[in-house]
């Protein structure tokens, strides 16, 4: 079976669940935490696919993310090397707030009643110093289950080098019918706290994701005679089967945003445009990522104060969104965010007594037409927005519009910092990248931010609200595995790559075959993580012929840090294998071609840094491919607004995306 049968992409968000078929049919249902399967079944009904057999469904879910961020993990029994029971509580011993009078650790410690020390020890070179007493360890595990653990995690020191102890214990406990995560099985990489923490989070999510998978199977009649299959988006932008997702749920933590990135790449990249920076601005936060030839994957990240050693798309999040609150601090500086007005009371303009926010500043400046918000279904209270922003203006002794512009400028300073972090700080010149805006508020700031970073163009893809669901459809099946191999010579790997990667490749292929891929469909990419001898932070480069991997590393090091030292040689840290299936083809809907000038739906007063005037407002659905506009103007659609500032022009491209460039 191949993945050409994939029919429906599903993005399960916090509020709504979006559905889209490969042919472009769409549906939308309110999300439900308690009954995720029912919502999916309703969506299929709405699409007229309720009884269809042989469906292939692909979905992204925030169920794992929410459980971690809300500390709602199942009780985990921790089996850890003797002498190290508190290792997860100790973490890296640093405090997140440098100047807190009463500092707290970055994340909560495991329940001490659910920790058992296991007599065993592996040395740094992989030799066994103290053999594992398997029966005693097994008994300890069962005692933890009796005390209320729902899932077990095995965390043994130096298991990245020698996993035998973890492996035999995991096997026997699985044979006993228990849910088990072994640290090196999930991430065979060194640094015990990071590896153990990743495994512990996985164990805490397993019961939850197991129930979630069962619910989906029942509600959607997956597998068996129905011929319906379900894949889930992982944090690295590739899909895996539901079974494996339930076994390794820590791979799903960025499932939702990953769909957005895959969708943005599919919706904005083309033969000429291969470098993108994505800019997804919502109500409370903004996600940015840099895509140089494709979505970027890194091997480590942090979420909810916990480090994660699984492949994850390199998405940087900052606390600035439409609902970010503007206020003055004690020193008299204007602050915007990270506190947010949320959905309730929401910004002042929601008319529920909320504070002045970024959205209110836009309203004051005319950039959000109050009658057209959410297709006109939600009236905004412009007077309330002006009143709250006006209070700030009085405190500052500046004019209302001046302060509204200032609120946007300060919010944009935070966003600019995020964009710089992922581009300039990593050696990428933003002037060579297009800014892809989505999310409800992305288009409000994109042109202004692009100008700050001298980025040549802004792309607002079609249906920015459905980008993520479409991304689910477009994700290939994918499996990334890494293994730390400190001390091995790079030349040896370059000389015999197939042998060095044989284990990783066998495992990745077996898992992808299990998802229904044919052997010939699987593409394998071999990478090596390299560093200069003595460094601790590695860079991943493709494995090349003799000497080539090292050359690629020197180049990348110079690009990122400003210097290279080829004379010192390179040190091999880890082998990294990326295996994936073919990218499913999805028909892009063709927008109609229109000639002539579009008609504005209304005119209103817009205020910019360099002046104010009466400007046209267009509906996005009135714009056809090939049409051009000159700023200043505003383009509204159901769930998003795009500002075209003065001195900019806009063109609708053949895919229906809005492309904004500075006018010459």
């Amino acid at each position: 079976m191949t993945r050409e049968r994939v029919a429906v992409g599903i993005d399960v968000g916090g509020t709504f669940t979006d559905f889209i078929t490969a042919d472009g049919a769409v549906a939308k249902r309110p999300s439900s935490r308690g009954h995720p399967g029912r919502v999916l079944a309703e969506g299929l009904d709405q699409l007229g696919l309720g009884g269809t057999r042989g469906l292939s469904l692909a979905h992204g879910t925030t169920v794992a993310t929410n459980a971690l961020l809300e500390e709602d993990l199942a009780p985990v029994g921790l089996l850890i090397t003797e002498g190290f029971r508190d290792l997860l509580a100790l973490g890296r011993q640093n405090r997140p707030g440098l100047y807190d009078l009463e500092p707290r650790p970055a994340c909560a410690a495991p329940d001490p009643a659910l920790i058992a020390e296991i007599a065993e020890r592996v040395a740094a070179d992989g030799s066994i110093l103290k053999a594992l007493d398997l029966e005693a360890a097994r008994a300890a595990a069962h005692r933890l289950m009796a005390r209320g653990a729902e899932s077990l995690v095995i965390c043994f020191l130096n298991s990245y080098r020698q996993p035998a102890h973890e492996r035999v214990l995991a096997e026997i406990l699985r044979a006993d019918g228990l849910a088990v995560t072994a640290s090196a099985e999930l991430a065979a990489e060194f640094r015990e706290f990071e590896r153990f923490s990743t495994a512990w989070v996985n164990a805490g999510l397993m019961p939850l994701l197991g129930r979630y998978a069962d619910d989906l199977r029942r509600a959607l009649d997956l597998g068996g005679r129905s011929g319906r299959r379900m894949v889930v988006m992982q944090s690295d932008g590739g899909a895996i089967g539901l079974e494996q997702a339930a076994r390794e749920p820590v791979r799903l933590l960025l499932s939702g945003p990953a769909g957005g990135l895959v969708g943005a790449w599919a919706g904005a990249a083309d033969r000429e445009r291969r470098r993108l920076v994505t800019f997804d601005m919502g109500g409370t936060s903004t996600d940015v990522a840099l895509l140089d030839g494709g979505p970027p994957v890194v091997g480590r990240a942090e979420l909810g104060g916990r480090p994660l050693l699984v492949p994850i798309l390199d998405i940087h999040t900052v606390g600035a969104g439409g609902g970010s609150i503007a206020r003055l601090d004690r020193g008299g500086l204007l602050k915007v965010g990270p506190a947010s007005a949320g959905a309730d009371p929401g910004p002042a303009c929601y008319g529920r007594g909320g504070p002045a926010t970024v959205t209110d500043a836009h309203l004051v400046l005319g950039r959000i037409p109050p009658g057209l918000f959410l297709g006109g279904s939600f009236a905004l209270d412009e007077a309330a927005a002006r009143a709250r922003v006006g209070e700030l203006a009085a405190q500052l002794g500046l004019g209302l519009e001046r302060v509204a512009l200032g609120v946007l400028a300060v919010a944009e300073a935070t966003m600019e910092r995020a964009l710089r972090r992922i581009s300039l700080e990593r050696g990428h010149d933003p002037r060579r990248f297009a800014l892809v805006a989505f999310g409800g508020a992305g288009g409000l700031h994109a042109a202004s931010l692009a100008a700050r970073l001298e980025m040549p163009e802004v792309v607002v893809p079609r249906d920015p609200g459905l980008l993520s669901a479409r991304g689910m459809l477009q994700a290939p099946l994918r499996k990334e595995l890494a293994r730390t191999v400190l001390g091995r010579a790079l030349a040896e790997i370059e000389a015999a790559p197939a042998r060095a990667f044989a284990d990783l490749e066998r495992r990745a292929r077996a898992e992808l075959r299990g998802e229904g891929l044919a052997a010939a469909e699987i593409l394998v990419e071999r990478l090596v993580d390299l560093r200069y001898p003595g460094q601790s932070y590695e860079l991943s480069v493709p494995l090349g012929a003799a000497g080539r991997s090292g050359e690629a590393f020197h180049l990348l090091h110079a690009q990122r840090y400003g210097f290279a030292r080829p004379e010192e040689g390179v040190e091999l840290v880890a082998l990294r294998l990326r295996a994936r299936g073919p990218a499913p083809r999805v028909r892009q809907p063709r927008p109609r071609r229109v000639s002539g000038r579009p008609k504005p739906v209304e005119s209103r007063r817009l205020v910019f840094e360099d002046g104010a005037g009466t400007c046209p407002v267009y509906r996005r659905e009135d714009l056809g491919s090939g049409q051009e506009l000159r700023g200043p103007a505003v383009i509204v659609e159901y769930s998003a607004t795009t500002v075209l500032p003065p001195g900019h022009r806009l063109e609708v491209d053949r895919r229906g995306a809005l492309v904004i460039r500075r006018a010459r």
């Binding site: 002498g83 190290f84 029971r85 508190d86 290792l87 509580a89 100790l90 973490g91 890296r92 011993q93 640093n94 405090r95 440098l98 100047y99 807190d100 009078l101 009463e102 500092p103 707290r104 650790p105 040395a123 740094a124 020191l157 130096n158 990245y160 060194f190 640094r191 015990e192 706290f193 601090d329 004690r330 020193g331 008299g332 500086l333 204007l334 602050k335 500052l396 500046l398 200032g406 400028a409 300060v410 300073a413 935070t414 600019e416 910092r417 710089r420 972090r421 300039l424 700080e425 400190l486 200069y532 001898p533 003595g534 460094q535 601790s536 932070y537 990122r560 840090y561 400003g562 210097f563």
Partner: protein, 515 residues
């Protein structure tokens, strides 16, 4: 400059300092810098005052502006120069902290428009013990003293200076790699400042720097004005003969604050001496803690402060007093004393004492392959409980925030094994809110090697507050042939294979009377 534009500049300056830190971390060679992050980056104005810092290590940061002012007074600086210094009495902290300072000339200005600083703790700078963290009578025994000298002159590395430095340290290859990382960091800072100047103009950036200090001063003055006027005293003690006293008198009048250290013990014949830069760092830290994240961290915070230091005391030592531990131990006690006094001014706001030590452990010797190694680390302990809740366990407190080295990285690199690393039960002080627990770390030598410990709070446990009990003091042990022997707070010992060193760090004091 209006508050909106100022906030935007604050973001830029801080982002530059943070980016310098990322470059330094990712390219450094020694575990102490790359894993433990024992370094700090900051921006200064043309007069050497600190404009912005990344949230790195407090003991490094509070004195950044003294550093730059010393260098600017001593040297004629040109575009492309980088100055290196570690002399504690001419802009440094203690000898292992090697500081690089690069003046940044913007927009054709003839005087440096700004400066960028990358300060990093090197795992060895020579001297009497591997790791350069021993207890001595003169600074000359503590390691190589580097006065302000140019390591880069007009863009070219000064090989003579580098060679002199590398010839005086036990692990030259690692030092050279760390120095390269620091150079990359200051270059990155200079590059980003130049880009900002191209957009905003050098003069405007300088104005923004000054205005941000004014904003920090206003923020601090508002906080101090909220403290009731009054005068409060507190005395705390270091370990050792006659328990050297750290005495402080805090006077609050309106929006000004005086910290008067009259009554401190005279300068010691041990490395526990602090000097002006360290005491100032501790004062900066304590004041900064009273504020919130919103007050910009720059030299403006110090303007409401009148710091009064007696001559030649344990908090104001002068050349040639030894100071290695003043930075890491005495700085903690100075913070304890300041908070002890402030607790009387602000009851219900200040927490009990945290562990009050950094528990400095260093090792040196040869690896299996014959290569020399030096290694330095500090250990977390208990946090003092406060009105908001119990103290956290196993965290670094006050003047440091370095990470631990992963056991798997440590064991792969050095001929040592960690036998145990866990919380030290019942070490926190009792109270309505109990203090946090200290930690236990036990090392086993796998080869003959030399070990040094510098620690305090081995005699008197960290104090409780508001009726809460004190924490248990820390303990150091040698375990040889199965027998456990107590070690003093500061000691150097030679370890044989199989010997174990066990450090038990202090807990945090309790807060509030137990029911």
């Amino acid at each position: 400059m209006n508050p909106i534009e100022l906030e935007i500049h604050r973001h830029r300056f801080q982002a530059i300092a943070e980016e310098m830190g990322i470059v330094l971390r990712n390219t450094a060679r020694s575990a102490n810098i790359k894993e433990r992050l024992d370094f700090s980056c900051a921006l200064t104005d043309r007069d050497g005052l600190m404009v912005a810092q990344a949230a790195h290590i407090p003991v490094h940061l509070g004195s950044c502006h003294l550093t730059a002012r010393h260098l600017l007074a001593e040297l004629e600086l040109e575009d492309g120069d980088v100055v290196m210094v570690n002399d504690p009495f001419r802009g440094g902290t203690h000898l292992p902290d090697v500081t690089l300072f690069r003046p940044v000339f913007l927009g054709g200005e003839r005087r440096a428009s700004f400066g960028v600083i990358a300060r990093a703790h090197h795992a060895d700078v020579g001297g009497g013990v591997p790791g350069s963290m021993g207890d001595f009578e003169e600074i000359f025994q503590e390691g190589l003293i580097i006065p302000p000298v140019k390591i880069v002159a007009r863009g070219r590395l000064v090989r003579d200076v580098e060679a002199l430095f590398l010839a005086n340290v036990r692990t030259p290859a690692e030092r050279r790699g760390d120095l390269a990382a620091q150079l990359a960091a200051v270059e990155r800072g200079a590059l980003r400042l130049a880009e900002s100047a191209a957009r905003h103009g050098a003069a405007r950036l300088r104005r923004a720097g000054r205005a941000l200090m004014d904003a920090a001063e206003r923020g601090m003055r508002a906080l101090i004005a909220a403290i009731p006027d009054g005068e409060h005293r507190f005395v705390d003690h270091l370990d050792g003969a006659d328990s050297p006293a750290i005495a402080v008198r805090v006077v609050v009048r309106g929006d000004d604050i005086v910290l008067d250290f009259a009554g401190c013990s005279p300068v010691l014949r041990s490395s526990l001496n602090a000097h002006e830069a360290i005491t100032l760092s501790a004062a900066f830290y304590a004041l900064r803690c009273l504020g919130d994240e919103e007050i910009p961290s720059n030299s403006g915070i110090l303007r409401p402060l009148d710091l009064r230091l007696p001559l030649d005391s344990v908090v104001s030592a002068r050349h040639p007093a030894p100071v290695a531990a003043g930075n890491v131990e005495t700085s903690q006690r100075i913070v304890d004393a300041i908070f002890g006094a402030l607790a009387q001014a602000l009851p219900g706001r200040i927490p009990a004492a945290s562990q009050g030590s950094m528990n400095n452990v260093s090792f040196g010797g040869r690896r299996g392959d014959g290569e020399p190694f030096t290694y330095f680390e500090t250990l977390a302990g208990g946090i003092g409980a406060g009105p908001l809740g119990p103290g956290a366990s196993g965290l670094h407190s006050h003047m440091t925030n370095t990470r631990n080295t992963p056991i798997e990285a440590f064991e792969a690199d050095f001929p040592l094994r960690i036998r145990s690393y866990c919380l030290r039960a019942t070490s926190g002080g009792a109270g309505r809110h109990p203090g946090g627990e200290g930690v236990v770390r036990e090392y086993e030598a796998l080869a003959p090697l030399s070990a040094s410990i510098l620690s305090t709070r081995r005699e008197l446990g960290p104090w409780g507050l508001a009726g809460g009990g004190p924490a248990r003091p820390g303990r150091n042990f040698l375990i040889r042939d199965g027998r456990r022997r107590a070690l003093p707070a500061s000691v150097r010992i030679e370890l044989q294979p199989g010997d174990r060193l066990r450090i038990e760090t202090p807990g945090g004091g309790g807060w509030g009377a137990s029911d």
